[in-house]
């Protein structure tokens, strides 16, 4: 083994010798390190960096890390393992007397950064090239221009090529001696790039730029601003959609129970919480008994949460709500009492603190689409909310249970006269609504703290959605949830999160005055309800 390594070393040495034999820019620049002047060191850095010598990268890195040493006019570098190497030849040498590190100041450090950026532009690793291109874009060091041109010529990856061209444009734009056509082309490139950095470059043109260039730059900057504003709006709409989906999940079960029974179930939020705790329990069991199933934990939790919350819902309906028909206000109070009991029950069993619910691997990370960053868990929740919505719509539209529920919603007494057992439908509808709340809890456990107060945070928002959307029509809930979600997120940048929410609440209160039965009210001939 030792012999093999020594052969390799000899080989490397040989190459080093070979290049050293041909005196070039590298050899010219090297001695300047020994001059002990910052200006010379800076010149040496750019000389070495531009040389293309195989040791150039090592030398500059050594300088950055304080490992570049000089003694008696010769330059050495200490490599990571502590060996001393002659920078001119690349051969290992014995430590000489009077070794001193080459000193650097901020100016030199900047030159080093730019030089390193320039040199890694040619790295075989595409990621490193991209990183280097971004570094050059930021530093706008004209010295990197030749390397940049070379890199662009041989670049094959499109993303890296774009970054490289952006960097070249940044340099050319800020260079007074670039030709007018070059600078116009640079402005065009930056315009296409169109991000915040490009905008900053275009608006901080060096003084004394010709008027045509200044004009082109300001035009391009305007274009970018418009586009950025547009993307910003798109981003906000996406956040709104995501918030709307959360509201939809929380409110859709409420819409069913409110629709059929005219009862606001104040314990609805607690059904959501129970769903979240079911997820927590499922994950705990999986962690201890079958860690391999963790990725599927949410899929296992979904039906369980539906069953648990649904069963509790039916129990509540049979033991409490059943006796309060025709007295919606009393039902509201009784379910509020139940919500207190459920909350305290969960607090007693699981403790008042937040419980840890993990996110499966397939839900973490983010998808980058044209400057937007969409996290996978948000995407999952949006998709999931729409799936739940469609499934419920299907149940109500195509099953006999759905038919009965719609009949009872529209006219309870008539439905009863037609032979529908309305009290049974009430129980089932209540179970269905609660079960859906449980499912919502599984989803919300991924984005919210699982604590006994989980449900309370959603209850007023859910009310708002249902009241705004109107009763007895799931489409109303969908439109209500999405409108509120998007309006909230669009208001936020202007009014702030809290004020935006207040404005929205006031708007809903005023809206109810205009349409006391919500957006999609059931049409009927009722004198009062």
């Amino acid at each position: 083994m030792t012999s093999l390594r020594s052969i390799l070393q000899a080989f490397v040495l040989l190459i080093g010798m070979a290049s050293a034999a041909m005196a070039g820019p590298y050899e010219d620049a090297l001695p300047k390190f020994a001059a002990d002047s910052y200006a010379d060191t800076e010149a040496a850095v750019s000389g070495v960096a531009g040389s293309g010598h195989p040791l150039a990268l090592n030398v500059v890195e050594a300088l950055r890390d304080g490992r570049l040493l000089v003694a008696a006019g010769r330059v050495y570098l200490r490599d990571v393992s502590g060996r001393l190497i002659d920078a001119a030849t690349g051969g290992a040498v014995e430590p000489a007397a009077g070794l001193k590190p080459v000193r650097v100041n901020n100016r030199v450090r900047r030159a080093i950064e730019a030089a390193l950026g320039g040199m890694t532009l040619l790295s075989p690793d595409a990621g490193a090239r991209l990183e280097a291109a971004r570094a050059v874009f930021r530093s706008r060091d004209a010295a990197a221009l030749p390397v940049l041109e070379k890199a662009i010529a041989q670049e094959s990856a499109v993303a890296v090529r774009d970054a490289l061209e952006g960097a070249r444009a940044a340099i050319l734009l800020s260079r007074p001696d670039a030709s007018s056509s070059e600078r116009l082309a640079a402005i065009e490139t930056l315009h296409i790039r169109g991000d915040q950095d490009a905008l900053a470059l275009l608006t901080t043109l060096p003084p004394g730029a010709p008027s045509d260039i200044a004009e082109a730059a300001s035009k391009a900057a305007d274009g970018i601003r418009t586009r950025l504003a547009l993307w910003n709006a798109v981003q906000n709409v996406w956040y709104g959609l995501s918030l709307g989906s959360v509201l939809l999940l929380a409110a859709i079960g409420l819409a069913i129970t409110f629709g059929t029974m005219g009862v606001i179930n104040m314990a609805h939020g607690e059904m959501v919480m129970i769903g979240a705790y079911t997820t927590f329990l499922v994950q705990e069991l999986i962690r201890t008994h079958a860690p391999g199933l963790f990725g599927a934990s949410l899929f296992i939790a979904l039906p369980l949460a539906f069953l648990v919350a649904g069963a509790i819902g039916i129990l509540i309906e049979r033991t409490v709500i059943r006796f309060l028909y025709g007295r919606p206000l009393e039902t509201l109070l009784a379910t509020w009492g139940l919500s207190l009991i459920l909350q305290q029950g969960v607090r007693t069993i699981f403790g008042p603190t937040n419980r840890e619910v993990g996110t499966p691997g397939w839900m973490s990370g983010a998808l980058d689409v044209a400057g937007l960053s969409l996290t996978y868990n948000r995407i999952t929740i949006v998709v999931f909310a729409f799936l739940v919505f469609s499934a419920l719509l299907g149940v109500l539209r195509y099953t006999s249970l759905g038919l009965y529920v719609r009949a009872v919603t529209q006219n309870r007494r008539m439905a009863g006269s037609m032979g529908i057992r309305t009290s049974r439908i009430d129980a089932l509808a209540f179970g269905l609504g609660s079960g859906v709340a449980g499912i919502a809890g599984v989803a919300l456990s991924q984005i919210d703290n699982v604590s006994p107060n989980l449900g309370q945070g959603y209850i007023i928002d859910s009310f708002m959605v249902v009241v705004f959307g109107g009763v007895g029509n799931l489409w109303g809930t969908l439109v209500g949830a999405m409108t509120l979600g998007i309006a909230n997120k669009l208001l936020e940048p202007y009014a702030g999160a809290v004020l935006g929410k207040i404005l929205l609440l006031v708007a809903i209160i005023l809206f109810i005055q205009r349409r006391p039965r919500g957006l999609f009210a059931l049409k009927g001939r009722a004198v009062e309800a």
Partner: protein
């Protein structure tokens, strides 16, 4: 139907009991020797005063829920607004004795680096104006809110929900520092009222007696309202709103008037509450608080006025006892109370007591008032 007398037997009993409380509590605090069973210790006086304020709040809810069928789940907001108006007066009274010793600006404004008093704080160093605001601010909010809500015939659970939204929005607003009401921390560190130090036992007794007097006055006012012709129309609205409208009454005017009056009563309760507990902060606006008030009324007996007072006292005494002895069971007890009362005791303690009284045959009364229901008519 003949008008009921303003003072029936029940009212006389209530007023006599209140007078007894107003005399006994201070007497037992001052005269009974510390350590004796009868002694009411100094920290109990403001606690009882707090209960009395809650009773006044419950009374205001009973006036609209029990007699007009308006279930407001946002009365805590009016209570808190009255409290804030009083808190602003007490804040201005601190003067240069604050931590930052600014002669005009309250501490939190100095802390936020404000240079001058916001316009809505001017004049609050004068008690009559503050007292006027205690009535006007909740009254104006209730008037505007009610004018919109009743005119467009928002009723039942819809009205309950938007009152929740109202108090929730106010809570969020008062949590903001920019609102100029102390944000999160609210208003506190009060020193004195009309020159009397708030920590002194005598001031506390004075506030207690004042609260009992306010409760008695509020009770008389509510009695007067419900025993008048106006009160009869309110009951008609409660039991059959459309029918009342068809008979030619402007239902929304009646509702608006009684809603505004009730909000003012709640504001007075809040104003008396603040100096006795020494703090007012945005959590008083919490939607859950307003719902709790409704259960006090339901426990005591809806639509009886005396029941609201009784319920507020019983539930709050229970709360103090429970949170001291079995803190984790208080929510079970409160939740259970909600379910129990609505299911099994829909007419509350007073209603149940009356039933027992009648069943024992000692007294025969004409048929009782029909149960208030917001029955959905298909």
């Amino acid at each position: 139907m003949t008008n009921q007398p303003l003072l029936d037997r029940q009212s006389i009993v209530v007023l006599a009991l209140l007078a007894a409380v107003a005399i006994l509590v201070p007497a037992l605090n001052i005269l009974a020797a510390p350590g004796s069973v009868l002694h009411v210790s100094d920290h109990l006086v403001p606690l009882f005063g707090k209960y009395i304020c809650f009773a006044l709040l419950a009374l205001s809810v009973d006036l609209i829920w029990g007699f007009c069928g308006i279930l407001s789940l946002g009365h805590g907001a009016f209570f808190a607004l009255g409290g804030y108006a009083m808190g602003m007066y007490l804040m201005r009274q601190i003067g240069p004795r604050g931590v930052y010793s600014d002669p005009v600006l309250p501490d939190f404004m100095v802390f936020l680096n404000w240079k001058e008093l916001p316009w809505f704080w001017h004049g609050f160093d004068w008690l009559p104006l503050a007292a006027l605001m205690v009535l006007l601010v909740p009254g104006a909010l209730a008037f505007i809110f009610g004018w919109f809500a009743f005119r467009s015939r928002v009723t039942g659970v819809y009205l309950s929900i938007i009152t929740q939204a109202m108090t929730f929005a106010l809570m969020l607003a008062f949590f903001r520092n920019d609102m100029g009401f102390g944000g999160n921390n609210g208003l506190t560190d009060f020193k004195d009222i009309l020159g009397f130090p708030l920590q002194a036992a005598s001031t506390r007794i004075g506030l207690f007696v004042l609260s009992v007097a306010a409760l008695a006055g509020g009770y008389l006012l509510c009695r007067w309202v419900v025993s008048s012709k106006f009160g009869k129309v309110l009951v008609a609205v409660r039991d059959a709103e459309s029918r009342t409208r068809f008979l030619g009454y402007r239902v929304e005017h009646y509702k608006l008037a009684v809603f505004t009056l009730s909000a003012m009563l709640a504001g007075v309760a809040g104003a008396l509450y603040v100096p006795q507990v020494g703090i007012i902060n945005p959590s008083e606006f919490a939607p859950a608080n307003s719902i709790e008030v409704v259960i006090w009324v339901a426990v005591g007996g809806r639509g009886t006025l005396a029941g609201a007072i009784l319920g507020a006292l019983v539930v709050n005494a229970g709360k103090t006892w429970f949170t001291g002895v079995l803190p984790e069971f208080w929510l079970f007890a409160l939740g259970g109370l909600f379910v129990f009362v609505t299911l099994l005791m829909p007419r509350g303690i007073l209603g149940a007591a009356k039933d027992i009284w009648e069943r024992s045959g000692r007294r025969l009364r004409p048929a009782r008032v029909p149960e208030a229901t917001a029955q959905a008519a298909e």
